[in-house]
Symmetry: C2
Subunit: 197 residues, 2 copies
């Protein structure tokens, strides 16, 4: 998605060989017009899938998910990282390990909002080691719903999350795939390379 | 805002005399079309204010804020409740006490994204005791930016947050104002009552 790649090139800050900061438009400040374009692209990519609900995780997954839900005219559910005061009963939960923070969080979704007739699109802002996506998959499986695919805004393709998910048979659509952050330089997987894979 | 009030009447669950659960369209599952209507309404109410940025707080403030930002064509910033790995330097912080959880959270915003030329609209999902709004106001004041007003999706008008903010001279626009949750019944401040105040 070229408009996204250009934005990453212009505003992304490489903090290390593995950490990209995109706080100016996705993770802290949000660019609503870009989120709308992202929503349109996910909507186009998964248009034929008969999706009934989008599942994401707070907080940075919410903006791209809501714009996708707007296009597809379906609800969005965000998994909580902390238990809510008013979200206490009948929870589906999964453990998500964060390599960067070296901690495990229990994420939770009310079982009221996903059932076995649902066709779920999982959306998240980043895909690195795949732990968050695997946690969301676990929750959808507990609800016996069907996963139609996983939409990712930025995939760090030099980490193994994308491969794990694809090897498990999931359709993963990443709008920007970064193959390297070495020496402070952001290198995208080129369209050509992508076709060769 | 009638479409919102109808949604609250249909789907809101009164958990106690002070707690209303709206997890089906705002706080856990999100209705993107309703968020768009909310964004249009905030945009209409504050259209003349020359707003440059919206400030909200994760997670439930993000969806209505992004839709408002889309209408006004301006960025949204969400304050974080937990420190981010990639959000470490030059933070503006404020303490927010939660009466329901009986705990104080430090919220934070990067000082890169708010400056003294900004005209800020603060948006949040709920207004009860006003602690979150006061924390966001504190942060905007630290940045020496101007606050044009506060947009609230649901105001619990039987708690004192709205009065504190209005007494301090802030323009508060709440799309649904609830005066009572007593006996499991949701009672809105009527338009007539509102004019009398």
């Amino acid at each position: 998605m070229n408009v996204l790649k250009r934005k990453i090139e212009l505003e992304g800050i490489v903090l290390s060989d593995t950490v990209l900061k995109v706080d100016s438009f996705l993770n802290h400040q949000i660019d609503p017009q870009l989120m709308l374009e992202i929503g349109k692209e996910f909507s186009r990519l998964f248009a034929e899938e008969g999706i009934t609900k989008i599942l994401t995780i707070e907080s940075s997954g919410i903006a791209p998910s809501v714009m996708t839900g707007l296009q597809l005219n379906i609800p969005v559910i965000f998994a909580r990282k902390r238990k809510s005061m008013t979200l206490i009963n009948d929870l589906l939960t999964a453990n998500v390990y964060s390599f960067t923070k070296n901690e495990t969080n229990e994420i939770s979704v009310s079982n009221k909002y996903i059932n076995e007739d649902d066709r779920i699109l999982i959306i998240d802002d980043f895909l690195a080691n795949g732990q968050a996506a695997l946690g969301l998959i676990d929750i959808v499986n507990q609800a016996k719903a069907h996963i139609v695919g996983i939409g990712i805004v930025i995939e760090k393709a030099f980490q193994n999350g994308g491969q794990i998910l694809r090897d498990n048979g999931y359709r993963v659509e990443s709008l920007a795939r970064i193959i390297s952050l070495t020496d402070g330089k952001i290198t995208f997987l080129s369209e050509q390379t992508e076709e060769d894979l």
